[in-house]
Every structure is written in structure tokens, then in C-alpha cells.
Amino acid sequence: MLYYKAWLESRVRFLAAGALLSLYCLTFVQRAHLDFPPVLEPMLPYTAHVWRGIYNGFDAVVFVVMSGVLGLGGLERERESGSSAFTLALPVSRLQLLWPRVAVAMLEMAVLTAIPLVVVPWASASIGREYPVVHAMRFATLFAITGTLWVAAGVLASIALSGTYASLAATLLAPAICAAAFSSTALRARPVLSPLNVMNGSRLPFLNPVTALAEGSLPWAALLSFVVASVVLLGIASVLACRRDF
């Protein structure tokens, strides 16, 4: 029942993001039928075109933003709308309310990563091009693991900040702060630490610079550290949730 409740609360966000990502991936690939190869780069491989438009473009930005937004919600929001007393009257602890919400958000985020995995190879085949499923799978894996970080940031913001819009603003600004930190500070020299670089291989050796396919070994150490960071953020969120006294 708690999982169903979490689904009902987040489904509009998830479905809106899913619809937009599907539409974008489909139209981007269909447009390649007309505008690929670009006039200025006639030798550009199709896989690099897809990487620029999807894995390092619009799709990636929407995914990062919506992963954070999927993490929002919960008791603080219900407190504002006056329904938290009903939820807290259920015979479950606050942690039991929090973790189904986290699990549903993570699952929804994982489904979003599967959209380009399904749409890009299928739509590419429909226009007579080929995009290898294996590489789409590798990018989906990278998106899913780094996505846990954004979901966890959204969950933490929704608990730490009172006010739905304040937590939303914090969630939206988190990737921007991350991007700024990795472009404007000494961290620029360490792209492997940036989730925004790791998710699509930008400036990392595992990405083939010509074909833009994830051909090398994935940065498992960095991915593991992102998972640990997500667990830490969710741990802090759990502690904060338990300490609330409303």
C-alpha cells in the first residue's frame, strides 16, 4: 500500500518526464533521416551524432533534472497540505514511509534510463541506421547509477527544507552547482569525480573520441563512490526524517 501511495504521488512527474524523453529521442532520431550527416561535418559517425544529441544533450539534462524532482515529496509536503496527520496515523514508522518513496523514485529513474535504450536502437533501425544496443545499455547503466545521486539529493532536499518550492529550487540548483564546481574550480582537472562527466563519458578515456561509444572499461570505482554518496545522503535524510516532531 505504501508503494502504491508513493506511486500515486509521483506518477505525474514520472509520466511527464517519460513522455518528453520518449518524444525527444524519437524525433531526434527521425530528424537524423533529414539532417545527418551535418553539412559542416560530413564524416561524423552516426553514433557520435546520437551521443551529442542524446547522451550529452537534451536527454541528459532532462534526466538529471527529473531524477532530482522524482525524489521530492513525502511528509514535509503532506504537512503543508494538511494531510500528514492521516499518513502519520498509519501503523508504520517514518522510515517505513520514507523507504518505499525512495524505492519508487529509484525505480522510476531507472525506467527513464531505459527510454533511450529502447527508443534509440529501434528508431535508428527504422531510418536505416544502426546504434549498437550494447553501447546503449552501457550508457543506460551509467545514467542509472549516477541518477541515484540526483534522486538522493532530491529526497534529502525534500526532508531538510520546509516548503515544496524551496526543496524544488534546491534540487534544480544542485546539478547546476555540481556543473559549476567541476568547470570553475580545481575539480575541473578530475572529470572522473563528476557525475555529469561519468554519466556520458565526456572527457573520460572510456569514451571513444571518434565514435563516441563507451568502448573502454567503465569507471567502476567512480560509480561505486556515487552509490556510496547516495547511501550517505539517504542516511542523512533518514536521520532527519526520524527527528521530525510534527
Binding site: 504521488e9 509521483s10 505525474v12 512527474r13 511527464a16 518526464a17 518528453l20 518524444l23 525527444y24 524525433t27 531526434f28 530528424r31 539532417d35 537534451f58 539534462v61 532532462v62 533534472v65 527529473m66 524532482v69 521530492l72 515529496g73 509536503r77 503543508e80 497540505s81 494538511g82 527544507l161 516548503g163 515544496t164 518550492y165 524551496a166 524544488l168 529550487a169 534546491a170 534544480l172 540548483l173 547546476a176 552547482i177 556543473a179 559549476a180 564546481a181 568547470s183 570553475s184 574550480t185
Partner: protein
Amino acid sequence: MLWYKAWRESRSRFCLAVAVVTVYCLTVLVRARTAFPPPEAPHLPYSAFVWGELYAPFRAVAFSFIALMLGLGGLQRERGAGTAPFTLALPVGRGQLVATRVLVGLAELIGVTLIPIVMVPALSPILAHQTYPASQSVLYGALFLSWGIVWFAGGVLWSVLFRGEFTAATAAVLTPFAYMAVYGVSRGDQRYPVANPFSMMSGGLDRSVGGRMLLTEPLPWNVMLVLAIVAAALVAGTWRITARQSF
């Protein structure tokens, strides 16, 4: 009192945006002291460095989010929280509530825009030992604001159309992406280059911007006027929808 109410409802978003933009500008300027020019581009002009850090298209996207977030709120949100009857019991029309919220939000948006306009020319000589013309900051600020008010008005409109806070917020967040998706599908980059918000905000309409990324042509006043009209139409639509709502 309505002004104070609108301020109280939006101040956390505004303060958060101000804090992030201020810290970011300071970071850029402090970094410029040691890391400018970058080793990979030793002849990069300081003005191009500032453009890349503050006025490039990705920064325009972040600013658009701030504008959209500042537009959210209002009666539908209060309806969801159960406080709308108290607000509606005040001896003011719904139009006054909308107008106050819009004006406070616009003032906050201008406030956020002013941060780099003031900080970069003023602090560049102190923190980065470089100079950046104040006139360029004002011009880029005006370009950011021209689309910023459209995004802001879009946020205001979504907030009166949807009762659920996250529904309005999701619609607002996805608005720039949906716009760019439609723009791409309709091959807008070839047919209507002036309608690309992030390109325009970054000075893309100035044909002689050059490698220094300094605007040399007059601002595209006709495009900015159209954008102001679009924003006004969105706000007018919001006003009318709010006045017709029956709760």
C-alpha cells in the same frame, strides 16, 4: 500587506537563487585570478572567459529554471494547502493577488539578474586583476531578462492551471525542454533562429560578437518587444483564468 505576503511566499526560492548565483560569480572571479588564461587557450580574452562562465547557453538554461521557479505559487497552491479561503476572505480582488505576486516575482528576477551585472565589472579588477566593461554586463543582463520574463510568466500560468504543486512545478521544469523539442522538430534552428531562447540570451543574434564575445550591435529590440508582449499575454491569461476560477 499583499506585497509582504507575496515576498514571504517566494523569499526562500529567491534567497536560494541569490546565494547560488553570488557564490558562483565569486568562484568564477577568484578562479580567474589563478586559472586565467587557461593553459589550453592562452590567448583567450577575459571577456570570452566571462561569457563562457556566466553567459553561455548552459548558464541561460539555469537562469531559465530560476525564472520559472520564481513564477510558481499563488491561489491554486493555497487551495491545495487549504489556506485559500483565508486569502480569498481578504478585501481584495483575485486580480490584485495575481498582480502583486507577478510584480514581486519580477522584482526578484531582476534582483537575481543584477548580481552578475554588478559583481563582474566591480570585482574583476579586485579579484581577477582584469577589467570587464559594465556596459556588456548590462547588455547580457537585458538579453537574459528578455527571455527570463517569458519563462517567469510561463511559471505563473502553470501555477494557476494546476492544483498540485508538483504538477505545476513539473510542467514549469519541462517547459524549456518541451519548447526546444518542438523547436527542433519544426527545424526552427534553420527557419526561426531568433526563436532559440538560449542562443539569443547568450548573444547569438549579434552577428559581429566575435571571439571576444563582446556585443557590438544594438540589442534586438524588436525581438525583445515581441517577448515582452508574449510575457504580458501569458500574465493576462493568468489574470483571466484566476478571475474565472470558482473556488
